[in-house]
Amino acid sequence: MNLHEYQARSILRAAGVPMPDGDVASTPDEVEVIAARLGGKVVVKAQVHAGGRGKAGGVKLAATPKEARELAGKILGMTIKGLTVEKVLVVPTADIASESYVGLIMDRESQRPVFMVSAAGGVDIEEVAATAPEKILRLPVDPRYGLFPHQAMGLALFLYRDFAQARAAAGIMRQLYSVFIANGASLAEINPLVTTPAGAVLALDAKISIDDNELDRRPDLALLRDESAEDPSEVMARKAGLTFIKLDGNVGCVVNGAGLAMATMDLVKYYGGEPANFLDIGGSSNPEKVVNALRIITADPNVKAILFNIFGGITRTDDVANGIVAATSQFKVNLPIVIRLTGTNQEKAFEILNGVGMRALSDMDEAVKQAVALAKEAA
């Protein structure tokens, strides 16, 4: 789960990371009040879960509270990469002498949190990694010991020659690590970490992603989820216990298992179609999940055909069949449905579907081909 910049800021500031004062607002009026309180020039920043806000016009500099208000009026409500801006962050401008990048990610290879720091900050770190990897220092941290002081200092000295700045940065590294561990983050990033002409070290922008698996035991973090910043169908899916990701195609997919779901989307593409979504109903085949899955998929006007691909293992295919029958009795599905079922209780499932005049296939390729063809017909 990605946090908004303003949420990441408040966590980092609480941990002691020096960041400029500032506040979040959802109306131009509030923005003007905040800008007046801060005094001087301010930056108005769109709070959306999308990169490239600046290029999209979501980050603006204002000289006066009045200008801030005007700019906020333009930014609030604008759409960036399909997401509507509901909130803006207002912060004072900072004089910048240097910009660095400090990131901490959960690294798959070392199976540890890994620091990545670079004096080439303020830009896309991926680009630095691709073009000038020697400008990045990587340090895996053993969570059994935590970040040793000398490790924090080593990272900081890679960024700053000035020792006072390095000492300040080392403190920030340690705070960032604490935040990462305390919040079960998968990513915690300060970009840029700047120095001011006076020599202070400040975090100007921050990004934190929380491991979704932490949220069950961390209701405090789960509360930070901003559903207004998400696709409504994804919100609905999550509440129904489904994993759903909206795409741009027209073949709606209902699959059990993440790997098979991806392979199904790939096969739709292989046979010339475009998947409308990723949807994994998971291992437990509660008919209710199937009903919800159909509700979500049919809500997408792009969808022209629906493809079920179920390989019964834990999932009982008769449960899925019952779910399909229940859904079609609860609401009208005006779309062709192609059903592929195989595995556990397959005969029973076929019987159930035949009972309501539906037909199921047992071959995946055949089912995908049919669904693609039907979607093309309808389009």
């Binding site: 798959r108 199976q111 053993d142 491991d211 698996n213 993440a258």
Partner: protein, 291 residues
Amino acid sequence: MSIFVNEATRLVVQGITGRDGSFHSKQMIAYGTKLVAGVTPGKGGQTFEGAVPIFHTVADAVAITGANTSVIYVPPALAAGAIAEAADAGIQFIVCITEGIPVLDMAKVMPFVREKGARLLGPNCPGLITPGVAKVGIIPGQICAPGRVGLVSRSGTLTYEVVNHLTNNGIGQSTCVGIGGDPVIGTNFIDVLEAFAADPGTDVIVMMGEIGGTDEQKAADFVKAGVRKPVVGFIAGQTAPKGRRMGHAGAIISGSSGTAEEKIHAFEAAGIAVMRRPVDVVELVKARLNN
């Protein structure tokens, strides 16, 4: 022949009285797995299905039944603790089925597992099966058949799809291993490739990866460097968008890294025959089994 589980496997099920644990324990027993003990704290002294003794702790189970392998079906919040318990009790092969374990829990418990010299498979994996001998986890036994193809995969049902094609076409398997889709896992492709390479019962290896991370790329390097057996590969997620977690916590393209293209390219560069569709496994494996 086989890898990781065989005739000597003596299995303890952690969480045997839970919904999933009891369902799959029955399946494992029905398949012929030597399921010697169950563990559910609070139910020590009872028996499962009138035959399998239940213990409060894994240590008791090991002491009394000689269990040497464990499979874990406990809720995510307790799963890392269950892994530690198994390792601490001297279990050398631990399979964790549980999905949804916080990654930080895994990062903390993995060094302990290593210190104890144990191997962990998973978490968030379907387990493994040596057809005709033993199944540990949730892979449906009826879709498998004994044979000489070793299969390793990050996913569950996709594995079933592929195994099903093999079995339906008369191609049996030595062992089918699901390593799981989480970012931090105990056994990776290379570990399994190494075992298959050394297993005289395995002639062809099928490796099924997906987007996210670089495990497949490293596995490809490993194959190129020293696996003398033919390898057939698949990568799921060619149509996945960037930056979205595709169900599996590990299945996410971060920036430009971990894409299907880059993995398929690495496979091809290593001489791995790449399946475009799951069904392609049949012809690709057949051609290599005949060699």
